[in-house]
Symmetry: C2
Subunit: 231 residues, 2 copies
């Protein structure tokens, strides 16, 4: 915390937003990382971020960063925490307001191919993160903790799933986030009792086994419970 680095007290702080973008791909919880093309930490992976424009509020800045990287809008985005250790950024004082977002893999239009011809952008499993720039490991871990806490209270996992999903897929996403196995019967009972699922009369043909009933979230009920769920 305390440091013997000399600061130029005439200079003011810089303020960024950084966004932890989470999704589920192939039954793994993934986070979107960029390979840095500039110093500091050139060549290291980092979560997407950017400076806050003077005329822009914090949520809008986070949404802008999200849209720039994934072209996704209208998703679950929440302010996470503000990180401001004087040493978190080399040579400069940069305070960052961190956000986290849950997006559906099917909605993603990530420019995985190089856009600038230089930077790389990739999904990484949260279980095995590469070395990260700045304090981004801490930020990602905090976002996972928060996601877990939220999920215990409200079904935010629907933000990670395709619009139509099976109960097993929903359960798997819970298990991925909570890092523990859940009982199938209890899980289904609870989900169906909550009245936030709509049973479609469609069946998944994926896999070569018994077709599974497809569900979607009841956005009307979700919205009406939003005050309750998200308080």
């Amino acid at each position: 915390m305390s440091t013997n680095r000399t600061f130029t007290e005439t200079k003011t702080h810089e303020v960024t937003v950084d966004v932890v973008i989470l999704t589920i791909i192939k039954n793994k919880l993934k986070v979107l990382l960029l390979k840095r093309t500039n110093e500091p930490f050139r060549g290291r992976w980092s979560i997407p971020g950017g400076f806050i424009r003077l005329s822009e509020n914090l949520d809008d800045a986070a949404l802008r960063v999200l849209k720039e990287k994934t072209n996704v809008q209208n998703i679950y985005l929440e302010q996470l925490y503000t990180f401001g250790d004087p040493l978190r950024y080399p040579n400069t004082r940069v305070i960052t307001c961190a956000y986290y977002a849950l997006i559906r893999a099917e909605d993603i239009d990530v420019k995985i191919t190089d856009e600038s011809g230089a930077s790389q952008i990739e999904w990484h499993s949260v279980e095995k993160l590469p070395p990260l720039a700045f304090d981004h490991k801490e930020i990602i871990e905090y976002s996972l903790k928060r996601t877990r806490e939220r999920l215990e209270l409200c079904p935010i996992a629907f933000q990670l799933l395709p619009k139509k999903f099976t109960l097993t897929e929903l359960q798997k996403s819970y298990e991925l986030i909570l890092k523990k196995e859940l009982d199938k019967r209890n899980f289904r009972k609870k989900m169906l009792a909550s009245n936030i699922l709509i049973e479609l009369n469609e069946f998944s043909k994926a896999g070569s086994k018994r077709p599974a009933a497809l569900y979607s979230f009841d956005s009307i009920t979700l919205d009406s419970k939003r005050g309750h769920f998200f308080s």
Copy 2:
């Protein structure tokens, strides 16, 4: 949120910390407010705050503000939320990282009398706030919401009480924060079952009625449960 004010994009942001300081005085939940002596909002009440020094992390900045105003250290202090609407501060872009603190009235050494000869500092009941500067009303209300959420999970109310307290006093502090009445028997049962209270063999002589048993919090048990309570 969006605005037609013109911003000078060359200027960078200013960053402050603001601290909502809560305590209980005479069975009321109170917040510490300062009367502003400078523009903007000269003469209005505001929560204490200040610029973050370049060499100081956010928690330390909040602690410094707290100590400057109340001379209290070693208390419950938690980052609340970062407010950054471009219009929250007139003419300048100021982003503030808000904290909230719970302190015991008995520990307070507030310089209620003028220090600079000009500014006033006073406790105000959260139920009837005066007109406030900036978005400080919103910040205070958010801190109350957060305090309520925390209290449902862990007994942070002990931060507001004297070191020795009666169960009725503890219950009253819960009721003040949660804004609802609690059942006396259920409350006592739950508190005693949690094993975080130490029954002192002392009795309150306050009031002219039957003496009430005094308790204190078991700091060892609290600390060992801290990971559980505060996660």
